[in-house]
């Protein structure tokens, strides 16, 4: 690992989605890769996720979504901006169609991992992103 401190990742399912399997599998392999995971589980609103991110001062926010209305993720990005927390990268995984994935990236999501993404690709992305963030000055939390 490139940073001295363990990377701390918040993983949450957003909105009323009950599909937790993806979030649990990702949480598990991030821990196996030596990261600290704050797993919020299901039924989390954007407000709850931002609060937890502040309290836990996480490095990355990972959102699992199987919705067909991505407004919840947009709200999360807006809320992070409002709280001057835009430097925390938000990554998303789940069944997010291409056109919506592009719109979410434009909105401020740093990376979308579609179904069948490998654990290596996710771990490597987080490691390289957090490193970059450290170079530019880490947020206050």
């Amino acid at each position: 690992m490139s940073t001295k401190q363990r990377i701390k990742v918040l993983i949450s399912v957003i909105g009323l989605d009950g599909h937790f399997t993806g979030a649990e599998i990702v949480s598990r392999f991030l821990m196996d890769a030596g990261m600290e995971v704050v797993y919020l589980g299901i039924y989390q609103t954007p407000e709850m996720i931002v609060n937890a991110a502040i309290q836990e001062s996480v490095d990355v926010i990972g959102i699992s979504s199987h919705a067909s209305n991505y407004e919840q993720i947009n709200l999360l990005i807006d809320l992070l901006k409002k709280n001057n927390m835009s430097t925390i990268p938000v990554i998303c995984g789940g069944s997010i169609p291409k056109q919506y994935a592009e719109a979410l990236v434009k909105k401020g999501v740093s990376k979308i991992f579609p179904p069948q993404s490998t654990s290596d690709s996710i771990v490597n992305y987080i490691v390289s992103t957090v490193k970059r963030e450290n170079v530019t000055g880490k947020l206050n939390g």
Partner: protein, 538 residues
């Protein structure tokens, strides 16, 4: 490439009579229509009736879903309709709830009131086709009330309506959005089930292994979980509600998830018929042959449909549909080409219904019943998956049964470990998936498919409509029915709430309101998310 069953047993290059040595055809298999029903329940198989070829509908407003159902009828879906409910409704909270309004109509139909059911069914017959509404366990009693009331309003004999609108109380354990405590879910499921059985209504209740398996469970585990659920839930109806097993046996139906392990999927369904028949006869002392027959429907596995190169899913869907057909089932609904992206578009729905008709009408699969019987391999697999399932079933029994195993987290751990194992097998290349870890193409070259979507404005519109509509109801009548429901909900676990729920639904009480006061009567907050308070003075 790994050559073993999805539950971890090595597969040999060839199978011979030695692999099924000791198998007694008459006793262990039997002809089609003969106990233990490995080969199905009808001597003439699909010649008596081809499986119901249907497709999931449900997205956005009731009116929009109604239009989709009418479209499906034009696409040849006339034997049965299948509608899935949206997220807020599954919980259930109403569309005008501060969180509900963000997701109304997402991933399903917002069926929160009788008004919405009336709009959904506008111009669509209640009889002559099966009516299936999927969603959550908590909503079961309310959905059953919709059927009872609409039949009455249309002057249709309730006994003529068939299908399924109620679901087992373990959904939320398996990734479904359902926010009632398990004990209350069980009580309400027993209420709706008892009502169905006592009134001889021809509506089934889904006691499914599909959610478990789609969340990562393997074939042997799925059988074990299914039998454990049936044993405990049907046992409660017999022992706590005093019903006769021979009547109760007509209640459940199973939705089996059929994945890409072609022969194993077929073996699984064959084994399930035998396991249920034995349990019915040996554990529940079933008197009739009919009571030894578990109705089985098939869902082609959404988990196997890839995001990458989605048109490949047409091939997967066809293979899985063929497996389901060969296995023998009463109905099939397909996860199809856009399953990893969105709810089915009209394009995907047509492909999917056509796939089923290609399988039923062009391949000859409906000519002969259980055509793989006697195959050394398939009979071996049937015995093997059953034997493995019985071992897992024993472990669940050792935990104290299904309810205890769920509460202890045993089932969840089993599911999570299996899901992780599957993920690792794919990442290591031991299991190959075209487009995902084999024959991969760059994302920018991937197929473009039509995507069905719900926008934030659609959800908001559903929410606003509900807010306005709620004010137009006969409020004194509604208050009276809600107050009665609250009183009745305090009368103890065995007091059947179905009649009071029907009254509240008839007065246009909504899902959030009805479940809210039941929650309160049981000492919980009116709102599962604890954001709004009860609008009634109960």
């Amino acid at each position: 490439m790994k050559r073993e069953t999805d539950y971890g047993y090595e597969i040999k290059p060839a199978y011979t009579p030695a692999d099924i040595e000791g198998m007694d055809y008459a006793k262990d298999v039997g002809d089609p229509g003969v106990y233990p029903f490995v080969r199905g329940y009808h001597p003439n198989g699909y010649r008596s009736r081809v499986w119901t070829r249907r497709m999931t509908a449900g997205l956005g407003s009731s009116k929009r879903t109604n239009e989709v159902l009418k479209q499906y009828r034009e696409m040849g879906q006339t034997q049965g309709m299948l509608v899935i409910c949206d997220r807020p409704n599954a919980m259930p909270i109403d569309a005008d709830h501060p969180v509900g309004r963000r997701e109304a109509g997402v991933l399903g139909w917002h069926g929160a009131s009788l008004l919405e059911f009336e709009e959904l069914m506008d111009g669509i017959p209640l009889t002559g086709q099966s009516i299936t509404l999927l969603g959550s366990s908590a909503m079961s009693a309310i959905r059953l009330a919709y059927i009872v009331i609409l039949a009455e309003k249309r002057g249709v004999e309730l006994k003529e309506v068939h299908g399924s609108v109620t679901e087992y109380p373990f959904c939320s354990t398996f990734g479904q959005t359902d926010h009632l405590p398990l004990d209350l879910l069980i009580k309400l499921w027993l209420d709706s089930s008892e009502y169905i059985v006592r009134n001889k209504i021809h509506m089934r209740s889904g006691i499914l292994s599909q959610h478990f398996q789609e969340s990562g469970g393997n074939n042997a585990q799925a059988l074990a979980v299914e039998i454990a659920q049936l044993k405990e839930l049907l046992g409660l109806l017999v022992n706590e509600r005093g019903l006769d097993f021979d009547d109760v046996a007509f209640l459940p139906y199973e939705l089996s998830s059929i994945g890409m392990r072609f022969f194993e999927e077929i073996a699984k369904v064959r084994a399930l018929r035998r396991m249920f028949a034995k349990m019915a006869r040996e554990t529940f002392k079933a008197k009739s042959e009919k009571a030894c027959q578990l109705l089985i429907s098939v869902h082609t596995s959404g988990r196997t449909m890839t995001y990458q190169q989605p048109l490949n899913n047409i091939a997967r869907c066809a293979i899985e549909t063929l497996a389901g057909a060969i296995a023998g089932c009463t109905a099939i609904d397909n996860a199809c080409l856009d399953n990893a992206h969105a709810e089915p578009s009209p394009f995907a729905a047509r492909m999917s219904l056509n796939t089923q008709h290609i399988v039923s009408d062009e391949t000859g699969v409906t000519d002969v019943t259980d055509p793989l019987a006697g195959s050394y391999f398939v009979e071996y697999l049937t015995n093997k998956v059953e034997a493995e399932a019985y071992k897992i079933l024993q472990q669940i029994e050792d935990q104290g049964g299904m309810i205890a195993a769920v509460k202890k987290g045993y089932i969840h751990t089993m599911m999570e470990e299996s899901a992780r194992k599957k993920q690792k097998e794919i990442e290591s290349g031991e299991r190959l998936i075209v487009g995902a870890n084999e024959l991969v193409i760059p994302p920018e070259e991937d197929d473009d498919i039509p995507i069905q979507s719900v926008e934030a404005s659609d959800s908001e519109e559903i929410a606003k409509r509900m807010e306005e509509w709620k004010k137009t109801r006969d409020v004194p009548l509604l208050e009276e029915k809600i107050a009665q429901l609250y009183k009745d909900a305090k009368k103890g676990d065995k007091y059947n709430l179905m009649p009071s729920i029907i009254e509240a639904v008839k007065a246009y009480g909504t899902a959030g309101e009805i479940m809210g006061v039941i929650r309160m009567a049981h000492g919980f907050h009116y709102d599962p998310l604890e954001m709004i308070s009860c609008p009634f003075d109960v």
